[in-house]
């Protein structure tokens, strides 16, 4: 693809598709028409020059193509189920010329597209696949490779989901205020999942996986721009930016995941950290009386880590408080365990050990090697070598990851110089 068209594809695919869906009320046809518009751009732009408003140019071409097809195949298409466009705003079908603004104040069509793709009536894996395919414009074979499934499986997944959208009439609309928190959470979860799928890739096709984190950041930026008053959308964007800022230092030369205290902070991306922190501070202000949600709280924690000059000089007291909020917003034993780690830095290992011992009774953490690993570390810091060794061995028994095993093994007391 030529540079201009490639840039336009990355920046405007969702916009062009969403605007075309309005005309076709059929996702497949809209995709076809949008793809053709980009194909046409490949021919026309190098010849006539880049249009002043590339997005509007593409929308016009795609819509014109859609109208042609609809006219020609009128009788054929009459039998197909149409995408449900809510009646209350179908009269506002004229899309504005600038991608980020609709002069009538009605929601951007890209938001409709995202909420349709992430509708709770679709399974999570279908939501993820549809979002990548329809909102990000990633080709199905690439989506399949990123999720380590066969192309046929992914194609079937996408087709099935599209059929359900049409047959069950999942509407092409942004949820009302009363439904929004729940529905927004589904959208943000999909974007977060995309990010973590790319982020935690320890194996597999690295490049495609890295691309997922880029897609997720792009989506998070779009959601925040389209819903600037949603603290959780701001929180998610801040969270992925702050994680991205540290991505170069997450693994050592041997490929092992490095803990926060081992990472070289001078290599963290300051510009991303600043942007993330500003987002957090602003969202904390404008959320008003609403309690902060899970993404904003996670982002706030990530911001404190990113800003700290060193592991020891981190504001652990405030991190513990943020974890208290996170526990209320999003109860999970993993959150409790992370809070215990922060507590050990704020109040010392004794207090944290009591928390960890309490968590040992939680069946949801059974088999989670991080729990005995944390406990071992606390016992070690308390000078209880024999008990620490026992916990390190328990953690070793629960992890198959070679690099992780090597690390745990190295911490057994017989390997320590002071033992």
């Amino acid at each position: 693809m030529s540079g201009d068209v490639e840039d336009a594809y990355r920046a405007h695919w969702a916009y062009v598709l969403a605007a075309t869906v309005r005309v076709t009320r059929d996702l497949d046809l809209a995709e076809e028409c949008a793809q053709e518009a980009f194909a046409q751009a490949l021919v026309v732009w190098p010849r006539d020059g880049l249009p002043q408003q590339p997005a509007a140019w593409l929308v016009t071409v795609a819509k014109r193509r859609a109208v042609d097809v609809l006219r020609r195949e009128q009788t054929l298409r009459a039998k197909l189920p149409l995408l449900a466009l809510p009646a209350d705003d179908s009269d506002k079908s004229d899309i504005s010329e600038k991608p980020d603004h609709r002069p009538d104040g009605s929601p951007d069509d890209r938001l409709r597209l995202v909420f349709t793709c992430c509708h709770p009536a679709l399974a999570r894996d279908a939501q993820v696949a549809l979002t990548l395919r329809l909102v990000c414009g990633v080709a199905t074979p690439d989506v399949a490779r990123a999720f380590l499934v066969s192309e046929a499986t992914m194609a079937a997944r996408v087709t099935r989901a599209k059929k359900k959208i049409a047959a069950a009439r999942i509407p092409f609309r942004v949820p009302r205020a009363s439904e929004l928190p729940e529905r927004l959470d589904a959208v943000l979860s999909v974007v977060h999942l995309l990010y973590t799928s790319g982020h935690t890739a320890a194996s597999g096709p690295e490049l495609l996986r890295a691309d997922l984190t880029g897609r997720a950041v792009h989506l998070a930026r779009m959601l925040h721009r389209l819903m600037p008053d949603e603290p959780e959308a701001a929180g998610l964007l801040a969270l992925v930016l702050l994680l991205d800022a540290r991505k170069e230092t997450r693994t050592g030369p041997d490929g092992r995941l490095l803990r926060l205290d081992e990472q070289d902070r001078t290599r963290w991306d300051r510009a991303l950290i600043e942007e993330g922190r500003d987002l957090v501070l602003r969202a904390l202000r404008y959320r008003g009386a609403r309690p902060a949600g899970r993404y904003l709280l996670q982002a706030a924690i990530a911001a404190l880590h990113a800003e700290a000059p060193s592991f020891a000089e981190t504001d652990w007291r405030q991190i513990v408080e943020l974890y208290d909020g996170l526990r209320a917003a999003w109860p999970s034993p993993v959150v409790d365990l992370n809070r215990a780690v922060a507590l050990s830095m704020a109040d010392g290992p004794e207090a944290a050990l009591r928390e960890v011992e309490r968590l040992e009774g939680d069946p949801r953490l059974a088999g989670y090697h991080y729990l005995p690993a944390v406990k071992a570390d606390l016992l070690d810091r308390l000078g209880r070598a024999a008990a620490a060794d026992e916990a390190f061995r328990a953690a070793l028994a629960l992890t198959a990851n070679e690099a992780e095993r090597e690390y745990l093994h190295g911490r057994l007391s017989r390997h320590r110089p002071d033992a």
Binding site: A84, P86, A87, H119, A121, A167, A168, R169, I170, P171, R173, P175, E179
Partner: protein
């Protein structure tokens, strides 16, 4: 408007005689509730308990419901709604959700 089957599932054997009085009352009021929310219940039926059901699979006839499960079909409605979100809004208020749940499935309009 789209027509949806709302299949009601309640704990087996889904005997209408076991329906708590409040739940029964709510079923009677549900059609009106659907109208108030802009939908329409075209038809609604309750079923005898699943112990009265007979299943035919291939050429074998057996006693009991087609699928043995903790919850069984207790009845169904045909609901007309604008789209799935509208159908969900109404179905969420279905009294069957109190002790069991509902399945929302678009009718085939061939």
């Amino acid at each position: 408007m789209t027509q949806y089957a709302i299949l009601l599932f309640t704990p087996a054997p889904a005997d209408p005689a076991d329906l708590p009085p409040a739940e029964l009352q709510a079923h009677f009021a549900h059609a009106e509730e659907a109208e108030r929310l802009g939908g329409r219940i075209v038809a609604g039926y309750g079923l005898q308990p699943s112990t009265t059901a007979t299943a035919v699979r291939g050429d074998t006839v057996t006693d009991g419901p087609f699928i043995e499960a903790k919850e069984v079909v207790a009845g169904f409605y045909i609901l007309e709604a604008r789209d799935l979100d509208h159908a969900l809004e109404i179905a969420r208020r279905n009294p069957a959700t109190w002790r069991g749940g509902v399945e929302i499935r678009p009718l085939f309009e061939g």
